[in-house]
């Protein structure tokens, strides 16, 4: 349905009076999303997952690479043909209030894509908007309110209704539940799951919240410093992670028993700057399993199983396994 090929997005930033450098936000990423699937995009702040989401929907042009939607390369489209496809590709943002026009009644916000893309006759619009409100669990009484009059959960539902209005096929959700309280979040997650079925959506779900990703997605792509380091079915990524970075990330997921205080697998130091990332394997400076080859050879995604890819030669060649992560964790415990 949607495929991203060798996608690169660099941002120039001024680092001095006469110097600009490149922030390598997304640096050569490839993946595809199948029809009806939910792909999770996880990683820590600054790993490039939000940039990737925006570029994949062509909200921003990439530096290089291709984005294919049903065999059309979106990166080559401009103007009218691109506008024609827009309704099919929708996005829901993290900050619901910031992504809604404060001077528009929320019903107008939801109606906007219908008007813009001539998707409903003027007299049908009100009915369509009411329908959408109903689908996302908003009461009719809120139709004529302004965004600031609604709660965070309600604002996010308006954002979802707006994205659903033009009958999209692909929906990218960027941390849609992160700003919400536990009980509000739970309701929204249930709603998103139901809508995916009802509208036959293909979703890319971006989040740093691994519990939500584990619950909602079919496959997961793990990002570190602008690159995908591991890609596979959600259960495999969570239960049998192969890349040391994924191992550390998953070790931090709260399990069934919240009171479990076993030591977790920790990586020393912090994520380096995406301006000058480590040249070969980007995790090398922090990786407990590092070898000389990791500092010399760029790592590419290789299969450990047909549907499970990892960008670590030691994992791909069977030198390290999830048991080694467990052993390293236990060593930290003493």
């Amino acid at each position: 349905m949607l495929a991203v090929e060798k996608l690169v997005k660099h941002y120039p930033i001024k680092t001095g009076a006469f110097r600009t450098e490149q922030v390598r936000a997304v640096d050569g990423v490839s993946f595809s999303v199948r029809r009806g699937e939910t792909l999770g995009l996880v990683g820590e702040s600054g790993c490039g997952k939000s940039t990737l989401g925006r570029v994949a929907l062509r909200l921003e042009p990439p530096t290089s690479g291709a984005v294919r939607y049903r065999d059309v390369d979106l990166t080559r489209l401009r103007g009218r043909p691109l506008r024609h496809l827009r309704p099919k590709l929708q996005m829901v943002f993290q900050d619901p209030l910031g992504s809604l026009n404060p001077r528009m009644k929320v019903s107008q916000t939801v109606a906007e894509p219908l008007v813009l893309h001539h998707l409903a006759a003027p007299r049908e619009i009100r009915t369509r908007v009411r329908e959408l409100f109903d689908r996302v669990g908003l009461s009719d009484e809120l139709l004529d309110r302004y965004p600031h009059e609604l709660s965070g959960g309600q604002q996010q539902r308006v954002g979802i209704a707006r994205a659903l209005a033009p009958h999209p096929e692909v929906m990218v959700l960027d941390e849609p539940t992160s700003a919400l309280d536990v009980s509000v979040q739970a309701k929204l997650i249930n709603l998103l799951r139901r809508l995916k079925e009802d509208f036959d959506l293909t979703q890319v779900f971006i989040s740093h919240d691994l519990s939500v990703i584990g619950y909602l997605t079919d496959r997961v792509a793990v990002m570190y410093l602008g690159e995908i380091v591991e890609l596979g079915p959600t259960a495999k990524i969570f239960l049998m992670p192969r890349h040391p970075y994924t191992g550390a990330l998953m070790s931090a997921v709260p399990g069934e028993d919240l009171l479990d205080r076993r030591t977790r697998l920790m990586l020393p130091g912090e994520v380096p700057s995406p301006i000058n990332p480590p040249p070969a394997c980007r995790l090398a400076p922090r990786c407990p399993f590092v070898k000389d080859r990791c500092r010399e050879e760029k790592q590419v995604l290789r299969p450990v199983e047909p549907d499970h890819l990892v960008a670590c030669w030691r994992a791909a060649e069977g030198e390290i396994s999830p048991e080694d992560f467990e052993r390293t964790r236990l060593a930290l415990e003493v």
Binding site: E44, S45, S151, G152, D181, V182, S183, V184, Q185, A186, K187, I189, N190, R193, H208, L210, S211, V212, G214, Y215, L216, T234, A235, F238, L239, A248, L249, A252, V253, P254, E256, L258, L259, R261, R264, M266, L267, E270, V271
Partner: protein, 329 residues
Amino acid sequence: MALLEVSDLRTSFFLRGGELRVLDGVSLEIEAGEVLGLVGETGSGKSVTAYSITRLLKEPGRVVGGQVMWDGRDLVRLWESELEQEIRGKEISMIFQSPREALNPVITVGRQLTQVLRIRRGMSRRDARAEAIRILKSVYISDPESRLDSYPHELSGGMAQRIMIALALSCEPRLLIADEPTTGLDVTTQYQIVLLLRELRDRTGMAILLITHDLALAAQLCDRVAVLYAGRIAEVGPIRHLFRSPRHPYTDALLASRPRLGLQGDILTIPGNVANLMRPPGGCRFHPRCPNATEVCAQLQPPLEPMDPGQRVACHNPMPQRQELAASG
């Protein structure tokens, strides 16, 4: 005797539309060296509790009743000058959610630390610098000498929070109030802060009041937890009891509404919305959303009462005690 004893604390916000009773009789104790978690959702009053204790509440908020006993003195009635000179930042320190905003952006980390040490602990310039380096080392900041010359914007979120902790610890407080200290940090960085706080408690014996919406974080750090709902304590007790056998329907629902891998079907949710504090429901404030509610719940506010296996619960119709715990005691 408890280190801090809060009884029947009432705080209101006086708005044009009326009085918003944000805290409606909150009582809790913290023992020396204990980590108490104050867990609740937005608007539950958890941060307001912290600001009421240290009297850092801003207008239109005001403490309208209750006591905050610290070392035989009531902080609610203490002179501001006494509070500022002897207690706030000295015996009771606070850290916040956005560490980079809490630090002064135009002054180096080193000057902020040494200023505190010179004013609060009367150190000479040279002693303060040596002490600052020692403190930075104690929160595991590598190369502390050169970090002293950094400005806050040059720090990562995790490092800024560790420096905030270092600042808060510079006067060796007996109580650290940590308001959402890991919110906004990445999971792996969050865990580093948890480990640091755990170790500092063990090493210095200070008590911690952890304010959070994150049940998983509370589970990693706290000895006891108080669950707040709409300005009242719903349930308080040892973390093991609250998480393994929650008795208040709200605690139970909060724990059940977590998404996770392998969960089939819908996540359990709490019906309705958080209570409107301008016109709070009568009786138990949770009753309109409660699966166990009966007639009495709408009329009578339930008092906090001891319940098995060892917590205090404000509920007329509590959840049954879970069996496995009943057996093992």
